[in-house]
Amino acid sequence: MKRRFSKSSFARTFSLTLAAIAVVASADVFLAKAERAANQQEAARFFANGQKLLRKGENAQAVEQFRSALSLDRDNPDDQLALGQALFAAGRLNDARAALETLLEENSFSGPGNLAMARVLVKQDAVNQATFYYHRAIYGEWKENAGSNPVSVRLELAGLLSRQISKAEDLKAQNLRESLLAELLPLEDEAPGDPATRKQLGWWFLAAGSPNRAATVFRMVLHELPGDAEAYAGMGQAEFAEGNYGVARADFQMAVRLRPGDWDSENRLKECERVLELNPRQVGLSAEQETARSRKLLEAVLDDLRQCIGPSPAAPAQDLIAQDLIETAERNLKRPATSAANIEIAERLWQMRKASCGAALTAAEEPLELVLAKLAQ
């Protein structure tokens, strides 16, 4: 038998359903709040355990704890970040990268997230990508120490770039120097004023090919710490790079005196002295001294060329010119010649040496290059 439809029963049931919806919705909201609070509490416990384990170096167990925290409080960026960092510490770089990608998908401005990602990428030798994330970290959001953290990140990036410069080939090194300088310029103002940081900046300026800025920084350090051997060594290198060999020698002498056994400064001092000893145009020399130095320079260049090309020049086309130049040099050395003539022959021989033997120089040849470069100026 077909049931008759009653409008009142429909309205009553519909009203009751709406009332039930309201009641169950309230119960749901209450239960959801309780669930969220309990989950967050439990997640916080896992998070704290994870941090403890991470400090102890038990990275694999820390990963487990952070994963558990995250499963309870999925939207918590701190848990996600901690998981990424723990995976990184455990050496699971791909997993760490995936975890941090998830974090950065949610908040691409996260300063700590971008920094952690940059560190993972550095480990994976993806320096260009890492630089990108370092920049995002520098300009990102920092919940804590919003003033100092970006500076620390920039310092870390500068350290990375300076390390890369020493490993890179010429062209790439030049690009890296420019990038490093771009990071160092803001750091001049932003970086902490403690001498250790300042000295580090000075060295990085040197690596970036900016010796005058390096000299300024080291000078400021020496103003504060007049007896700092490292600052003198840095200062010496900056002056040396600027071609101020006399000043550089004085700085290296101070560095060696303040820190005996500093082999690097001692070698640099020797190099300075060698350059000064060969430079015929040094201020304050008499005419005889200038001529004697020019002969010495010519002699040194000729010896170097002979060692390099052997008894006879290799390339037949250059054979005659080379022979002619060598004979001229020998003649000049046997009879009194003007310093200008000696210098001119020395410069031409040096060009020939570079053409025949390549631009690579030994440590002993560097002073010759420096002197001749200075003379060419």
Binding site: F5, S6, F10, T13, F14, S15
Partner: protein, 536 residues
């Protein structure tokens, strides 16, 4: 009081336009059912979670893992036996039973019992799922609302799958798969006319879920992709493993259930303890086997897999779920099938990745595909399983390997275990429900299989082609299903229909008679009935 009366009057006035026709009323109720079922299922999930947290506090003793499931199964076993006998088991066969045999009638008492008994049972760590019970709760609420709203039997039956869709959308956070599951598994017909209402309620329920719990997918899955075309071979192996695992699970479950049914009736109330004890003992050594296990699934989907443990858990879960279900605990097999699939997938993927690290993805990807594979093998709803994984991951790239694995698992499962699990469970209870397969088989029978030739121009042909008032007579075409021929015979009051060409309805191709149709369906009519057959 006066205020309440005025409010009631206003409400009645407001819903007046919504109850003009049965279609409007049905649509209105679909929305309300979607919202209510969504909220109830969210409450069900949250309550289960809170109860589980109370039963297993952080740092609790390992003995709890034995005692709590035993106590839980004993308590809920008694309640189910004493007060809620229809709330035992998964809920999906019960829903189908109500839909096809009981005119969509599910009692509120059953809904109530299912909600609380399942919540307690799952919270105590019983290795069963929450989706099946959620489906019965949703269907039950839809049935209760529709009946109380004075809807016709047909409309009550139509609203039951609407409740199922809403429940599954909320329980599994997959609204499209929820609709498909309702049509593919519950209705057994992907072209069922309730599609629109089911979509509406599923979407409403899903919105409610998101309003209350936020946009949190059930599993957080990284983007997986096919590493190398040769990897299809590994996914095919996964399909075989998933298919065999599915068959093992289904056969074990059915065998154990038959065994438990053979025990004396008075033992029914404490039979669930067998499940509780099994889960407890397994859980003491491997806690991940307990409960729904989605936390562990989430872990392995993210590649956090210890190969041996994943394999061990696959075996333990198959046994624990089979014993827990067959002994009469309240809970479903939908969730465990995903767990089993994920662990089988992680095992196969782990081995493949060790052997061919450059050509295969990590075990997480295989766990993901494994979930769909086991679901297709156990529940035998291949389309739903593909869409479900797609919705869970929101990633298209894994779909092709998933389809291949699913198909293989489905075929192996079909070959080795003919009846799908829910149908087999109903058959054990003496109930024969129509399945998608049997419906498809019936739908495949065409008029041309029962058609007989008629000489053109013969008196019989003339009579067949004579319609009422000289119009076109009731007829069928050769490619029509036989069921349509029966329908048309009934509506026209004829025992024989002309079979005409689609190109020209006046061109007679043959005749189809009631006897021939019945014979095609395997029914032999008695002689006296046959004598009366003819045109009337």
């Amino acid at each position: 009081m006066g205020e309440a009366t005025r409010l009631g009057a206003r409400l009645r006035k407001a819903i007046q336009p919504l109850q003009q026709s049965e279609a409007q009323r049905s649509l209105t109720l679909s929305l309300a059912i979607g919202a209510l079922v969504g909220l109830v299922i969210v409450a069900f999930i949250l309550l289960t979670g809170r109860l589980a947290a109370r039963m297993y506090p952080a740092g609790g003793s390992g003995w709890r893992r034995i005692l709590v499931p035993v106590a839980g199964s004993l308590g809920t076993g008694y309640l189910l036996w004493r007060f809620f006998p229809f709330a035992r088991g998964s809920g999906i066969p019960q829903t189908k039973f109500a839909l096809f045999i009981n005119d969509g009638r599910i009692l509120f008492r059953t809904v109530f019992g299912k909600f609380f008994c399942c919540s307690a049972s799952l919270a105590s760590g019983i290795a069963l799922g929450r989706e099946g019970p959620a489906v019965q709760i949703g269907a039950g609420l839809a049935s209760v609302i529709a009946r109380n709203a004075g809807m016709s039997k047909e409309q009550v039956k139509a609203l039951v799958p609407v409740g199922c869709s809403a429940a599954l959308a909320a329980a599994f956070n997959t609204p499209i798969a929820a609709v498909l599951f309702s049509l593919e598994e519950i209705m057994g017909d992907l072209h069922a006319p309730v599609l629109g209402a089911a979509v509406l309620s599923s979407a409403t329920s899903w919105m409610v879920l998101h309003l209350v719990l936020g946009d949190n997918p059930l599993f957080h899955v990284p983007a997986y992709r096919l590493v190398h075309p040769a990897e299809f071979a590994a996914y095919a192996v996964l399909g075989v493993a998933g298919g065999l695992g599915s068959v093992a699970f289904v056969k074990l479950l059915l065998h154990l259930r038959q065994m438990f049914k053979g025990f004396p009736r008075w033992s029914v109330w404490f039979q669930p303890v067998a499940g509780g004890l099994t889960v407890g003992l397994f859980g003491y050594f491997a806690p991940d086997v307990m409960g729904v296990g989605y936390n562990y699934v989430d872990k392995i989907l993210n590649g956090d897999v210890v190969l041996k443990l994943a394999f061990l858990l696959a075996i333990l879960k198959i046994i624990a779920t089979a014993v827990a279900y067959s002994s009469g605990n309240a809970g479903g097999i939908f969730g465990p099938s995903l767990f089993i699939g994920a662990t089988i997938g992680a095992s196969v993927g782990g081995v493949a990745h060790r052997l061919f690290p450059d050509y295969t993805a990590g075990p997480g990807a295989y766990a993901l595909v494994g979930m769909g594979t086991a679901f297709a093998g156990i529940v035998r709803v291949p389309l739903t399983s593909v869409i479900m994984i797609f919705e869970m991951t929101r990633d298209y790239t894994i779909i092709v390997p998933l389809m291949i694995s699913n198909l293989i698992a489905f075929l192996i499962s079909y070959k080795l275990q003919r009846a799908p699990i829910y149908e087999a469970l109903a058959q054990q209870d003496g109930v024969h429900l129509p399945s998608a397969e049997t419906r498809a088989q019936a739908g495949r029978m065409r008029v041309n299989q029962a058609m007989r030739p008629v000489a053109a121009g013969s008196p019989e042909a003339m009579e067949l082609l004579t319609g009422p008032n000289g119009g076109v007579p009731p007829h069928v075409h050769p490619d029509h299903p036989l069921s349509l021929a029966l329908e048309r015979m009934g509506s026209s009051g004829r025992n024989a229909l002309p079979v005409v060409s689609r190109a020209d309805v006046r061109q007679l191709l043959g005749v189809v008679r009631l006897d021939d149709v019945l014979r095609a369906f395997g029914v032999n009519r008695p002689a006296e009935a046959r004598e009366s057959t003819g045109l009337s």
